[in-house]
């Protein structure tokens, strides 16, 4: 296989940048599980929905995805809030598989609705001004990936700030830490759960806007993203925020390297192998849950 050090470096950096966007998507899943203990099996479908929304805004009214982040992020916030408040709330006390099945049904509904509305063809967003790579010595930086990674980092930083410095954020962490205690001191747990779900959904919305700049989307992209998000979150630690980012980067890099050394179609095999190993030897993930 012909490769040299600069190819390797380029692949690593490209993987790192994609990985940060993956990380943002997984962050949403991790936050939802960490607090509300809901295993969101419709996560990838929500991602696909956001990608379609961004593609639609671009193709109809020429809003580029960096701006579309705001309306889509907000729309997903309300969507997540309503979903938790109206649909999932009674399911908190039911067995886990029943919750899982409900979200699965939602996933089927989203996927088929996308298929009905947009048809089976792939959609993409290509911005002309992003095509020229930035050249730093031997490293070629893909502009789309770079800015997507920057947005992902900024959103993640904002989330950390929210969870550690705002009243609501601290209250949400209290619910995750000790639900009974949180209820006793009078926190409105239902509302906090809904806000958490909204934040998680909003993360996916923003990640979707960024992802549409990197790959195209079809109605059936959803399940693959759900699996990807779970792989990342398991590797990082279910419920752990920094774990999701680290896991995202790790998977981004491992996919890039797998594509280089083995075959692009076999790249996710490495991710699944990593996940199986982490589950067996470190079931709580590399950076165990601490929200």
């Amino acid at each position: 296989m012909p490769f040299d050090l600069s190819t390797l470096l380029n692949v690593l950096i490209s993987g790192l940048m994609t990985g940060l966007v993956y990380g943002l998507m997984a962050l949403g899943l991790s936050v939802i599980f960490g607090v509300a203990r809901v295993v969101n099996f419709a996560h990838g479908e929500m991602m696909a929905l956001a990608m379609y929304a961004a593609a639609l805004l671009f193709s109809t009214i020429r809003v580029n995805p960096f701006i579309a982040v705001v309306p889509i992020g907000a729309a997903f916030f309300f969507f997540g809030y309503a979903l938790q408040r109206l649909v999932l709330r009674p399911f908190i006390v039911r067995p886990q598989h029943s919750q899982f099945l409900l979200l699965l049904a939602l996933a089927v509904v989203i996927t088929s609705a996308l298929l009905i509305v947009f048809g089976p063809d792939a959609r993409a967003v290509n911005l002309d001004w992003l095509l020229e790579p930035i050249i730093l010595g031997e490293v070629l930086l893909d502009q789309a990936k770079l800015y997507a990674a920057v947005v992902a980092c900024a959103v993640a930083a904002a989330l950390f700030a929210f969870f550690y410095f705002s009243q609501t954020g601290i209250a949400i962490r209290a619910c995750a830490d000790n639900l009974l205690g949180a209820k006793i001191i009078g926190l409105n747990v239902d509302r906090l759960y809904a806000i958490t779900f909204a934040i998680g959904a909003s993360c996916v919305g923003i990640a979707g806007c960024m992802m549409i700049l990197l790959v195209d989307v079809t109605p059936t992209s959803g399940p693959a993203y759900t699996l990807l998000a779970f792989v990342i979150v398991i590797i990082g630690g279910l419920g752990s925020m920094s774990g999701a980012l680290v896991g995202g980067v790790l998977i981004g890099i491992s996919e890039a390297l797998g594509g280089l050394f083995i075959a692009p179609s076999a790249k996710s095999m490495i991710s699944f192998a990593l996940m199986i190993m982490v589950l067996i030897f470190r079931p709580r993930g590399l950076i165990p849950e601490k929200l």
Binding site: V39, V87, R94, P95, Q96, H97, S98, L101, L102, L104, A105, L106, A107, V108, V109, T111, S112, A113, L114, L115, I116, G119, P120, P219, P223, L227, F230, V231, I234, L238, A263, S265, A266, S268, M269, F272, A273, M275, I276, L279, I280, F281, P283
Partner: protein, 323 residues
């Protein structure tokens, strides 16, 4: 079981046995699908319903069973009834290895479920690149004349497949009933309700959980062999895909987890639902791809939201039958 229930069950069984004699080929093919889901649902129910171990990756056993039997037939001309034992051995050792590894390292709950998905997906991508059995291009078994019945090689008319799967589904029901009333069954139920309490009473939870996974995996492998010979073509994207795992678990969840008849009722409902959705779409004339799945998703949503324990317990109460 009371007398009413016995009569009803025998009547239903008689109806199914007589089905190919009066029903159209289409109905027989739908019924075959129903029985296949009833069978795999019962296999999965042994793990989740009896022992409380949630597997979301049963496609793994389906795929391995299918590919083993098909590859032996394709490459070495070894018939399915011989290849079956190899498939069973492979699936049960795979299940035992997976369970052993998981329980040895105390992987449980959601984590165990995700481990099963991970293994199935790993196998799917692996088989995509496993050229000896055709890779992602698929493996095709010779299709011979549909009229000649060759039970030895499991080649023949659809009705033959119908009776094979009817027998398997019936056998699975008997096995489930025996298991549920055996020592293992009581231990499993104890583990399902509270693993710590069971362990404290001296139940070797590791061993009994292993047994549940092994039996369930081997049974699902048998379904794999059946579908390999029924459909005559195998693709990793279909056999190992997560949607296959989900299809397997939908029946028992809708019918009622942990009950004997739940998986069967659930499979019947699902087949009717899918079929009904097709008919409805055709009748309304709104034949856009995706509409059928949308209806399916909405119906699933409603069933899960309003009948959380499944259809069978509610139905059994209505019909005054023992659960």
């Amino acid at each position: 079981m009371n007398r009413r229930a016995t009569v009803l069950l025998l009547g239903l069984f008689g109806l199914l046995v007589a089905l190919p004699f009066w029903a159209s080929p289409y109905v027989v093919s739908v019924a075959t699908l129903f029985l296949l889901f009833a069978y795999t649902g019962q296999a999965w129910n042994i793990m989740m319903g009896f022992a409380g171990l949630l597997s979301l990756g049963h496609a793994l056993f389906l795929g391995v069973g299918a590919y083993t039997a098909a590859a032996l037939y394709y490459h070495f001309n070894i018939g399915p009834w011989l290849g079956l034992w190899v498939a069973l051995a492979l699936c049960s050792s795979l299940a035992a290895a997976l369970a052993g590894l998981a329980f040895r390292y105390r992987v449980s709950g959601v984590y165990f479920a995700l481990l099963t998905i991970g293994c199935a997906e790993f196998a799917r991508i692996g088989f995509d690149h496993f050229m000896w059995v055709g890779g992602s291009g698929g493996l095709f078994l010779k299709v011979v004349e549909r009229e000649r019945m060759d039970l030895l090689n499991l080649r023949g008319p659809p009705a033959m497949f119908y009776y094979v799967i009817l027998f398997l589904a019936g056998a699975a029901l008997v096995l489930s009933k025996l298991l549920l009333r055996s020592r293992a069954g009581y231990y499993w139920q104890a583990i399902r309700e509270s693993e710590d309490a069971a362990a404290a009473l001296g139940v070797n939870t590791f061993r009994w959980k292993m047994l549940a996974v092994t039996i369930s995996g081997a049974m699902t492998g048998l379904a794999g062999m059946f579908s390999a010979f029924y459909y005559s073509n195998l693709f990793p994207e279909q056999l190992f895909h997560i949607s296959r795992s989900i299809e397997i678990i939908l029946g028992p969840i809708i019918g009622g987890i942990g009950t004997l008849f739940g998986p069967i009722i659930g499979a019947a409902l699902l087949t009717l639902l899918a079929d009904g959705a097709t008919e409805l779409v055709a009748a309304v004339g709104w034949d856009v791809p995706g509409v059928k799945q949308l209806l399916y998703g909405i119906m699933l949503f409603l069933i899960v939201a309003f009948l959380p324990h499944g259809v069978w317990p509610a139905l059994a109460r209505k019909l005054k039958l023992p659960q």
